[in-house]
Symmetry: C2
Subunit: 418 residues, 2 copies
């Protein structure tokens, strides 16, 4: 069987399974999630054995230490997968929720019902725990899944898939509800992202270059985020102590995350007050500061920020700083350089807060809070499959609701159009 | 200036205008809509003169009568455009609506704000009234628009654009909020649908081949519907008089519309009762019936339906009929042949109605009502830019809300992540 035929078979099986999933009740889906967790715990030794095959091959291929670390299945990560599935089982089921039922003048009763998207393709790099996490979220939201993990994790992913299949069987659901692509041929990805007849949406998880490539070539809709160039703007009317804490937290709480601040914007009227204080705080964490010309008049010993800096997601202890001339100048900078992920204003000025909230066009817009709150758990979604910087469909942290759609339902008593 | 450069200029101007529109209040947008209506009424003679140029050129080119009819701007159509804009002004403004504001354990207050998508590209055929309708809906929802109408309507569209620009100016809004592409070069479309930096979504309006071509080549997200192959299923437990009325109305109320029924599914247990009655009704309107083998045992004088019939949107007084073996068989047929637009079950059986509503995967799913109700006006949206058969973002009739997105907003009092 060639790759195209193989992938189309997976697609058709997923499409058929998605109908069974759309009929499955909440109890049945939760039963499957808990059964998969049990299977994963019971198979810990096998999972580690299969993972060792991947690790040995990876070392032979010369994978770097960071990649090998993400690839490794430790006891903690295996327990983490099982617990993650149990947490998903504990979340409310979004499927079937009916909203806004109301009568129209014609006498029909109209509303919207939340329904699964159908078949979701997940493309990710060599982190085997994503296999269980993604499968769990898709299963709970009533979607069939086709999982294509990095080729370096193929043995681990197949072993996890076996646990998933046993759990699905115990709950009376088709094993084709979750399918792992068992070939490492790259052509499989090319097929998956163009099977518009059987795949409803693609969720790529991984580095920017992977996601850009998939978005460029996909014919199926993609839910994605490319990068997080997040801004904190310290307004003329900011509480400076609050501003210092938020700007420090947004940068230093964690560096390698998409909701960390990459550029700090400071109003010119308070720059001389706040910047020296902040520079001292950042120095405690050895954060490299890069400033605009005006910034470097105040912080004389820092490097100059280049044009490129304003468009860079450092994911590292580096921060670019720009002094701006008021709210409009700050929003102009954000409009030009933001990736549309998350921006915060620190201000005590009511009108400024209202304008910032209304006019900044990002998936999360905040007043007086750290950008680090832009996160599925902090937003109460329970879990997230990613953070979307697209404007259509799911925007911001994508939880179970983001993996569903709403259809219109009409309850009539024989109405016809006149 | 070459086409690429021209289109990129339009795109950048639209992006800049979209920021002004996101700041515009409801009153200002309504003022613009009413001013445009006034300008259109005042310019009726000029509009007809310019439209005559298009009509004369169209006749010379040998356009068929139906196309020329759609191209013509009569007094009624001009008044219709003006009234349509005034109706849009009377609709509630979706922009800025905040929902689900609630406190999280961290103390942040989280909610969602409805915001414009940004820049919307509309590609349509030679119906000049679409220029005003589409511009009005986009303007009210706070979006900048780039309109690319059929080349046969270029003089009419430019004249309407001038009215729109005068109305925008009177309301103090940038004229670049609504731009008509002034070249008839086809390359302009190719540019428009790939300008991912400046265009947020494309809405194609027109025939299936136009929409298929645009969907295939677009890099910008597309809100579309390809066709409406709608089904009515008459269940074993149907009220037969109701079933007869709904099946007749769904087919015969209007033929050339996407929410008309194209295939009738009838449960085998009641086929012999209902089909002869229905055939009589359809005969009064000279509807051609095409049946499956079982249907032709009951209705002996009708043509056989071929495999192709089940996948055909007739948009004409033709109906294919299939006898099915119960609810599951009916849903299997719908699953295989529906375009995902609208399906109805006629039944008095509670369990059947519930399963049909939950399991049929179409943008509108109905019980005991004519498919003809799937419409923006009947659903109370006030107006629609189209009907989406996609599952992501807007699904079903797309009104003002479908032209907006929701962003997360966070109101804090200095919260940082711990």
């Amino acid at each position: 069987m060639d790759i195209k035929q193989y992938m189309q078979t997976l697609g058709q099986q997923a499409r058929d399974a998605s109908r069974a999933l759309s009929r499955a009740g909440t109890d049945q889906k939760n039963h499957a999630l808990r059964a998969i967790a049990t299977e994963i715990r019971a198979a810990a030794d096998i999972l580690k054995q299969q993972n060792d095959l991947d690790l040995v091959e990876g070392k032979t291929k010369g994978l770097d230490a960071a990649l090998l670390d993400r690839l490794a299945l430790t006891d903690t990560r295996i327990e983490g997968m099982a617990e993650g599935l149990e947490q998903i089982a504990a979340l409310a089921d979004p499927v079937g929720e009916i909203s806004n039922m109301s009568y129209r003048p014609s006498g029909i009763q109209l509303g919207q019902m939340r329904v699964p998207l159908g078949v979701i393709g997940i493309i990710y790099e060599s982190r085997p725990n994503v296999t269980a996490d993604a499968a769990g979220l898709c299963l709970k939201s009533g979607n069939a899944t086709i999982l294509r993990g990095g080729s370096e994790a193929i043995h681990s992913n197949k072993a996890i898939a076996e646990c998933i299949h046993r759990g699905l069987e115990k709950a009376g659901l088709p094993t084709t509800a979750v399918q792992v692509v068992e070939t490492t041929d790259r052509e499989a990805v090319g097929q998956l992202i163009t099977m518009t007849d059987t795949v409803d949406v693609i969720v790529p998880r991984g580095g920017k270059s992977l996601i850009e490539r998939i978005s460029r070539d996909a014919r199926v809709p993609v839910i994605k985020h490319l990068d997080g160039i997040c801004h904190v703007y310290i307004d003329s009317d900011a509480d400076l102590e609050m501003a210092e804490n938020i700007a420090f937290n947004a940068k230093c709480h964690r560096y390698g995350v998409c909701n960390a601040m990459e550029t700090l914007l400071v109003d010119s009227t308070i720059a001389a007050d706040i910047l020296p204080r902040l520079a001292q705080r950042y120095a405690t964490e050895s954060v490299e500061l890069r400033g605009c010309e005006l910034t470097r008049i105040i912080l004389t010993d820092i490097n100059a920020a280049t044009d490129e800096d304003w468009d860079t997601e450092y994911l590292a202890p580096i921060l670019s700083i720009r002094i701006v001339d008021g709210l409009d100048d700050a929003m102009d900078h954000i409009h030009q350089h933001s990736s549309g992920h998350t921006e915060t204003i620190v201000t005590e000025n009511y009108a400024h807060s209202r304008r910032f909230l209304a006019e900044v066009d990002s998936s999360s817009v905040m007043v007086n809070a750290s950008t680090r709150f832009a996160d599925g758990f902090e937003y109460g979604l329970g879990a997230e499959i990613g953070i979307s910087t697209d404007k259509l469909h799911a925007r911001g942290p994508v939880g179970l609701n983001g993996l569903t759609s709403q259809k219109w339902i009409v309850l009539g008593s024989g109405q016809i159009r006149h």
